[in-house]
Amino acid sequence: MVYNSNGALREAVHEIHDYIRENLYFNRSDLALKGKGYNSALLLSLMTGLRKGKALIIGEPGLGKTTSAEYVCCLLYRMPLGTIWGSEVAGHPEQTEEKIIGRPDLGRLNLGEEVVVWSHFAMLPVKIVDEINRLPETKQSMILDGVDRGNWEYLNDAIINREYCLFATANYQDRGTNTIIAPLVDRFDLMVESKHPGANLAYMIGSRGPATSTLRDEELEGEFHKTLAERSPYEVRMEKLELLCERFGEMIRRTAQVRSLSRTERETIRNQMDQIHFDLDSNAFLRMVISELSFCHRFGQKRSHETCEEGCHFTGYVCNGIRNCISNRFPTSVRSMAQAIAWFMGDQAVGIEHLKAVLPYTLAHRLQWKEEVVAQREKEPRNDPLPIHMAKECVRDMHRRYMEQAPQVKNALAVACQVAQGASMEPVQGDHPLFWEIRRDLGEEVLEP
């Protein structure tokens, strides 16, 4: 059954969310939207899956980082848990390209033919990397490069994923972990923590027997495996796989009374999300956020190796507290996630509330705070890990500044539009970096304040 209308599809996604929350992933609400509480790890994983995104899920061992991603992928992509488990890449230092992407078909190689046997990880649209920070940086890079472009290359062969999402989990630093270097971590759309659910919810886990049994079917999993192991072209296998997915979808609809989504439905949802526009406030607020995270009056822009001047005029803004410049992937991630949240809430446009909800999670892993700023904040009382806590505080500050200056900022942008169209007007001046950026864009020589 295909749900084509916006409302029916949204209902199906809400049903998936509620089913996971009530049966599979018990956790507290830590994100409020329109007065309703959601769990950030679950909600944002769901949005990542729908948006073909990349999520980094952090947390203590055994707190459901991988399992939450598995449940989300299982229901969004109609794949049995057993198939998903079989495609997961486990992070450890000995992991090889042959296990992650593909290997030569040894039988055919003996006959002098170079044929690649692709890994399930490379072929399936659902990609889960468990404990990515236990992989050496070269392997992390290999996975993220592949996921960035959607194509996987081995020997002289390549496959292209038309649809995919990535969930990578990471434990906190210990002796066995490597760092995820900044350019790699930037490729994740968001970072979220899978938290401990608290004593009372934790007590309920497992009390109703193995909840995962409804999302498994050994016979179907065998058929998935057989299809993936076929020697037919990749596209043909994917078409066959979609038929199996439909059968699995029907099965869980019968057994678990939960709807799931077909490839066409996911595509329809994405199209609907893409059509959701940003209202003027969220548009201006996002510009303001980007300007605070990239602006440097003295050096033209933020650069990781350049430090702020003592007594800089812009000391009160976020640019003064961070070392790096925000990347161009950031607005893409924010746009994608904010549209997804707006769609999920049934709103016609992305507003400030949607932005405020996603910004901390799209920023947390991308901000490199100065040591003194971290030192000031690390002992503060909080419910989130430090990077997310600091990102939330920073978004709160930027939002406060926006609310104080919203009419001036929008007016400055409106004037800038007219100036860019050739009107003879003076660009609006103001203290916030965005005003300076506007004047730069209009070709003005901006002097030291």
Binding site: L280, N411, L413, A414, C417
Partner: protein, 231 residues
């Protein structure tokens, strides 16, 4: 290149200006009109950049000055700024002391304030004819030395000069009072018909023809008296 502000094209632009900007602009407009009026006066009254002091020309220049400022709204700060413009600005290509003083007097006489103080001591040039026809009820205080014909034709006002005056101070004054804190030049009070001139310093000479009024030096009446008018 694509216009990055296109999304805001539909938003109507508000030109919100700071109160200071509005004040500055209003002042600039007033100054513009004052300068324009003065230059027009010079153009009409001064031929070949020479201006001869003749009673009829003074009267005519004053009438023209009054006409040009009739609809101008200004205050003593504007007059003070105009003095500075006269002294050193590039906006005024030629400052001819006589017409400048007459124009200044017209401004003072038609200002809303009753008491006007003009700090003139830092200016390079001397202003003539300041206080011309100062009317009843007005007090003009000039800080610093001034030029000739100061307080000429005074018409009931009170003129205080905190410095010295040139020649012909109070010439033809009708009524009112001129108080000079330092010295006065030659022909002080010439043709005066009424009022008083008080000089605290030296009086180079008093006018030969006085139709009335009194001149005091350091509180002592020097005119009218039977003695030699040269002091």
């Amino acid at each position: 290149m694509k216009n990055p502000f296109e999304d805001f094209g539909s938003l109507s632009v508000e030109r919100k200006e700071l109160p200071l900007e509005r004040i500055v602009r209003a002042r600039e407009e007033v100054m513009e009109r004052m300068v324009h009026g003065y230059l027009k006066l010079v153009e009409e009254e001064v031929k070949d950049l020479v201006w001869l002091v003749e009673h009829s020309r003074v009267v005519k220049a004053y009438s023209a000055a009054v006409k040009s400022i009739r609809e101008l709204h200004y205050d003593s700060d504007d007059i003070e700024e105009f003095c500075a413009e006269l002294d050193s600005s590039n906006r005024i290509p030629y400052m001819i002391s006589g017409p400048a003083g007459i124009y200044l007097s017209a401004l003072v006489n038609h200002a809303q304030e009753d008491r006007i103080v003009l700090p003139l001591k830092d200016y390079q040039r001397a202003f003539h004819f300041v206080g011309y026809r100062l009317p009843d009820g007005k007090t003009l205080i000039l800080q610093g030395d001034v030029g000739d014909f100061v307080g000429a034709g005074l018409s009931g006002g009170r003129l205080v000069v905190e410095g010295s005056v040139g020649n012909w101070c109070g010439a033809g004054m009708l009524k009112g009072e001129i108080q000079v804190m330092e010295n006065s030049g030659q022909n002080t009070g010439e043709w005066m018909r009424g009022g008083e001139i008080h000089v605290e310093g030296r009086i180079r000479s008093v006018g030969k023809t006085l139709f009335g009024g009194r001149i005091f030096q350091r509180g002592k009446l020097v005119m009218p008296q039977e003695t030699d008018p040269d002091v």
